[in-house]
């Protein structure tokens, strides 16, 4: 039977990986919703699909997640899409940590409501996949399981986390009516085989600040866990579950207890990788950032803010948007995902096994500023 997929966020870090895989499927039509940009988005999408044996049919629809239930599409288009769609994959959203809460909500919460409205209209719907983050756990510490919800009153580190937690509330309300898969992603840092990065995020920015010698300290404890995943694992796991999982559920696409690392180890690996892949960097004698308690970190941040040094202030602010997570250590349980992936051969690779490749990619592309 022919599958028809309606997908958002196909140009993003995870969406583009999913699209590359979906495009190799037979008997598949993929309708992707891209933000109306005033220019042709096709070349960008085609560039992301280079090198694959494309068999599926791809249609690019220009719309807007922030346009309510219409998704920025005309009613006729929406109606005909709803008639044929068998799968909804909603990867679209804002991943900015610094965007104000109302703006993050408009995309992540209201945009999701629009996609859910559309999913309700799809009579042939087999599954609807929504992408969230493990950091809906906010500032809580300790184990966070796939059945746990939100921050449990501990608050959030940034508006992104809060908007995603609110998004989950909206999605969860619909789980009774629709075959929904909710994927909570850890920090996606790049391809485990090549280290290539499709979307540079705060982790890569932090590597850059360390490279530039602008990251003197991070809050936390050296043995606190750090959870990161590769983009290929996330795409492989999500697709496997979308295609085979029939029951609703929340899945953690995270490295979990087995594959995660620690703050101390990741900082050491960063320094080692920078020296290994850019030997001249050693000459700069940049010290490994200190891992300090939250009180000391906040005093340093306050001093930098008061001193008004623009570059250091920007660097500190950008680290701060996620650094507070490090001071609230948690372990993301992945039991349900592990069970669902059993026998597939799909499993997260140990972070330290592929992280150096990501650092090398950052160096070789100057953080995406030049081709590899």
């Amino acid at each position: 039977m022919r599958r028809t997929i309606f997908m958002t966020g196909a140009t993003g870090t995870v969406g583009s990986e999913l699209l590359r895989r979906l495009m190799t499927r037979d008997d598949t039509t993929i309708n992707i919703l891209v933000r109306r940009a005033g220019y042709d988005r096709r070349p960008q999408i085609e560039y992301g699909l280079r090198g694959i044996d494309a068999r599926a049919t791809l249609n690019v629809l220009e719309g807007d997640l922030c346009s309510g239930a219409s998704l920025g599409l005309c009613d006729d288009t929406l109606t005909s899409l709803a008639r044929v769609t068998t799968h909804v994959i909603h990867c679209g959203g804002s991943t900015s940590f610094v965007r104000p809460l109302d703006e993050s909500r408009a995309v992540n919460v209201d945009g999701t409501r629009g996609v859910l409205e559309f999913a309700r209209r799809c009579d042939q719907l087999e599954s609807a996949a929504f992408f969230s983050t493990v950091y809906v756990s906010g500032m809580r510490s300790g184990a966070f399981s796939e059945s746990d919800q939100g921050d449990a009153g501990h608050g959030f580190v940034n508006p992104y986390e809060q908007s995603k937690a609110e998004m989950e509330d909206v999605v969860r309300e619909t789980m009774r009516d629709l075959p929904i898969l909710l994927f909570r992603l850890s920090s996606v840092i790049g391809d485990s085989r090549t280290g290539s990065v499709r979307g540079f995020n705060t982790v890569h920015h932090a590597i850059r600040l360390l490279y530039q010698g602008l990251a003197p300290m991070v809050p936390g404890c050296p043995t606190a866990p750090v959870d990161m995943v590769s983009s290929d694992y996330v795409a492989d796991a999500a697709l496997h579950l979308i295609e085979r999982q029939s029951r609703c559920g929340v899945f953690h696409l995270a490295s979990g207890a087995e594959a995660s690392t620690t703050i101390g180890e990741i900082l050491t690996s960063t320094i080692d990788s920078l020296i290994r892949f850019r030997p001249s960097w050693r000459k700069r004698s940049i010290e490994k950032p200190m891992i300090v308690d939250l009180e000391t970190y906040e005093l340093f941040v306050r001093s930098v803010e008061e001193a008004g040094n623009q570059v250091l202030r920007d660097a500190t602010r950008s680290i701060r948007t996620f650094a507070y997570q490090l001071a609230h250590p948690k372990l993301f349980a992945t039991q349900r995902t592990t069970d669902a992936l059993a026998g597939s051969g799909i499993a997260p690779k140990p972070v330290l096994e592929f992280y150096p490749r990501v650092v090398r990619h950052c160096l070789e592309t100057n953080w995406g500023m030049q081709p590899c």
């Binding site: 530039q212 010698g213 602008l214 990251a215 003197p216 300290m217 000459k283 700069r284 004698s285 940049i286 010290e287 490994k288 950032p289 200190m290 300090v292 308690d293 009180e295 000391t296 005093l299 340093f300 001093s303 930098v304 008061e306 001193a307 008004g308 040094n309 570059v311 250091l312 660097a315």
Partner: protein, 338 residues
Amino acid sequence: MPVPTLNLRSMNSTAGIEEVATYLPSESASLEELRERGLLNGSVDTLRSFGFDRVHLAGEESNADMAIRAAQKLLSEADVEPDQIGLILYATALSSSATMSDVGESRAIGGAVLRLNDVADLFKYPASLVQSELDLPKASVMGVNQVGCASIFAALRMARAMIASESELDSVLCVSADKFPIGQPRDLVYNVVSDGASAALVRRDASRNRIVECAQVTKGALWDGGSLENEIVAAYFPTAKSLIERTLAKAGLTIDDIALVIPHNVSARSWEILGKLIGCPRDRIFMDNIRCAGHTIASDNLLNLERATDEARIEKGDKLLLFTFGYGLNWACMILEH
């Protein structure tokens, strides 16, 4: 028959800072006054929150004048005969302080610091003037520079090493004086600079302030302080913590063994942070001079050691940790046994 070996460590252990004296010009100015005179770029409120209030200004006095006054004061207070001083180590942070000429209103030309009327001016050394003015005929002289505000630490370290290696050298006079260029804003990388001078008498078998350990780190990649300010500020804390911990470990001590930290005066806030990093409570860091004296370039630690001694904040046998930081880029640490 076993070959006798020279145990430098045990020889070093006898040298210490017998006497300290400092000199601050009588003229001083508050942050507001500096602001009014165009000598402050930053916010008065911010600098005050970093612990500053007043600094001293040398006016007509030259760096050599200040050095002589500090050294004269030391000699008048110390139990030492002029003939006993075998070496003067003249330590300076600013390039302009290594000559007799005053920077004044002049500007750099072709890489030179001073506007010269005569090339011979380049060979007028304040160290020699100090020797002459203080009438120390048996003292040879040397200059110690290019380590920024860590220059006096370098001088003290050299004094200890030379006393250990030269059997006839028992007393070294370390002198440091810097005068900030006239008309230049005095706030520099979150601190406010004062003019001042200091002198220390390093002696074999000193009755106090035995130099237990000293260490220095130089990160030449950060030599260009002007254009690498962000990197310098970011490098400061991790390197400071690492050096202090290493120096303590070399001395077989922990921070809990230190009775008092004798700091540089580069902002009280920086010491609040560094204190947390090295696990030293605020009441064991002697910051009383920051508000009233500002950052006297290379003389901070001796200024603070002198005051802490005068106010009986330290007792015989106390372990003291001195730490400073200078352009170049240099971090220096020293442990004394009072």
